[in-house]
């Protein structure tokens, strides 16, 4: 009972929650770039929320199984085609038939979705996580659990709101903040899981600064917004470095981090400052809402549309 990669897609990775405890070794957190979509996809097929799945980016893989598989593609609305069933719907669970090839195409909006299989993808555990360090390749195989599932779906967890809430970074005083908050930035094609590179009007240093001060490298984390010497911003992603020597103007709050994982080249975004109290409320609201949806799914909720 084997799941096999026919074509790997643009950048398909085995992911789970990642490695939040080994950053001290210089290993990035990694894991699903949009954790809520990953967790809901798993809940739809009856998995615990941290079960390893395939993260698909912009152009999906072609996969084949020699046994029936209970699965879903959840996150961005990718085009799906089963060689026996024809068009399938992203966000709705289905049974991939024995010998059937699933082709995951592209998506008109957002960037990532999760191919979740009941029982999970049994990738090797390294430093406590099954998140792989390299993308999948053609011919790769995993043993998989046979399963069947009728169609059920839940709506996407959040809208594609173009505004991100931020807290001040340690070097926020270096910059003229109107430059940062009053403009729209464009996501450039050089963006990936390590970082979202933004194009905008160069940020200017705030008086009395005239030159860029030297900075010894300091710890950073997903959501940290660094400003490079040309005045452009980079939002660190889940595969971002653990320390960095660029100035930190701000941090995207945790409640908005999953949406960073769904940004694609050409998207336009802006930032709005909040305080720690607001950030904390936003995070607990979000956690509560996700928890509630997961509980409903566990109790057999979700809509059936066979």
């Amino acid at each position: 009972m084997t799941l096999r990669v026919i074509e790997p897609g643009l950048y398909t990775l085995v992911v789970d929650r990642g490695r939040p405890h080994t950053r001290g070794l210089g290993v990035s957190v990694g894991g699903a770039a949009d954790f809520a979509s990953f967790a809901l996809g798993n809940a739809l097929v009856g998995n615990p929320p941290d079960t390893a799945a395939l993260e698909i980016t912009l152009a999906g893989p072609k996969l084949q199984s020699d046994c029936p598989l209970a699965c879903v593609v959840f996150g961005a609305p990718f085009e799906l085609f089963g060689s026996q069933q024809g068009r399938l719907k992203a966000g709705t669970t289905f049974t991939l038939q024995a010998g059937e090839t699933l082709s995951i195409g592209s998506t008109p909006r957002r960037a990532r979705a999760y191919f979740c299989v009941r029982g999970g993808i049994p990738e090797q555990i390294i430093l406590g996580s099954r998140t792989s360090f390299e993308p999948i390749c053609a011919g790769q195989e995993w043993p998989c659990a046979s399963g069947r599932l009728r169609g059920r779906f839940v709506p996407l967890f959040e809208d594609d709101e173009p505004m991100f809430r931020t807290l001040p970074g340690a070097q926020v005083d270096w910059f003229r903040l109107d430059d940062f908050y009053d403009q729209c930035f464009v996501v450039t094609p050089a963006s990936n899981r390590m970082g979202i590179r933004l194009q905008g009007q160069s940020l200017r240093l705030a008086p009395p600064l005239r030159e860029w001060p030297e900075l010894d490298s300091e710890p950073v984390c997903p959501g940290t917004i660094q400003v490079t010497r040309d005045g452009q911003c980079v939002i660190l992603g889940v595969d971002g470095q653990t320390i960095g020597g660029y100035a930190k103007i701000a941090h995207v709050i945790r409640a908005d981090l999953d949406r960073i994982g769904q940004l694609r080249p050409g998207d336009r975004i802006s930032f709005r400052p909040v305080d720690l109290q607001r950030a904390r409320e936003a995070w607990s609201d979000r956690q509560a809402r996700l928890q509630e949806m997961m509980t409903r799914l566990r109790l057999g909720g979700g809509s059936e549309n066979c």
């Binding site: 210089g26 710890p219 720690l276």
Partner: protein, 216 residues
């Protein structure tokens, strides 16, 4: 500590007057294995303490309390001697020209200094070693980074030297290469820790081949 500021809503960033104080504090917090601490990352004068839902005032208060009651002695970590074949230094001539030293003097100066691991970062296990002797300080990065720097390559730039633990693109000046394996991710092998001491020992090509692939 000199200051403690929020690291977004993911933890606290603590600033210290010296690298040694930062290293000591990081070791102390790690050693306590507190269940509310997700991770500790140190880098030069700063230490990040990551934790889940928290009240920043309370977190900052607790971290200052931990600093006040430190039990870890201010000693440094383990001492390592890393063999280095300087004949494999692709940019040794560039470094010599830039610092107005002979190749031999660059090598001599580089290996007669004992370095401290001030941070691990850039890629898994990559040690940032400080500080270079004054004669070797100030060589800028390459104008355009190499697409691939081999694992084990020993580089320098600014006031620091470091070792590429895995093949990566990189812009540091490569002055040698160690045959030893310093990181093995699949085995969770990460021997170098912040605060450890590192010396380099000059080896020739023959010894390089003999030691190739051994672990630190």
């Amino acid at each position: 500590m000199r200051a403690c500021v929020p690291l977004g809503d993911q933890g606290a960033l603590c600033y210290f007057a010296t690298e040694e104080e930062a290293l000591r504090f990081a070791k102390e917090v790690r050693g306590l294995s507190l269940e509310w601490v997700i991770d500790v990352v140190s880098s030069y004068f700063t230490v990040a303490v990551f934790c889940d839902a928290f009240d920043f005032e309370e977190l900052s208060h607790r971290l200052r309390q931990i600093e006040g009651e430190q039990t870890v002695p201010a000693s440094l970590g383990r001492r390592y001697v890393i063999p280095c074949c300087y004949e494999r230094g692709l940019d040794l001539d560039r470094v010599a020209a830039f610092t107005c030293q002979s190749r031999d003097d660059v090598i001599k100066l580089h290996q007669q200094t004992e370095y401290v691991v001030y941070a691990i970062g850039f890629c898994p296990g990559f040690p940032y070693l400080g500080y270079l002797p004054p004669e070797l300080v100030g060589v800028p990065r390459l104008d355009s980074p190499r697409f691939r720097v081999e694992a084990g390559s020993v580089g320098l730039t600014g006031k620091q030297t470091g070792i590429y633990t895995l093949p990566r693109p990189g812009g540091w000046n490569i002055i040698g290469q160690t045959p030893l394996e310093l990181v093995n991710i699949a085995d969770a092998y990460f021997p170098l820790k912040p605060g450890d001491l590192v010396c380099f020992r000059r080896i020739d090509d023959k010894e390089f081949d003999r030691l190739k692939g051994e672990r630190l």
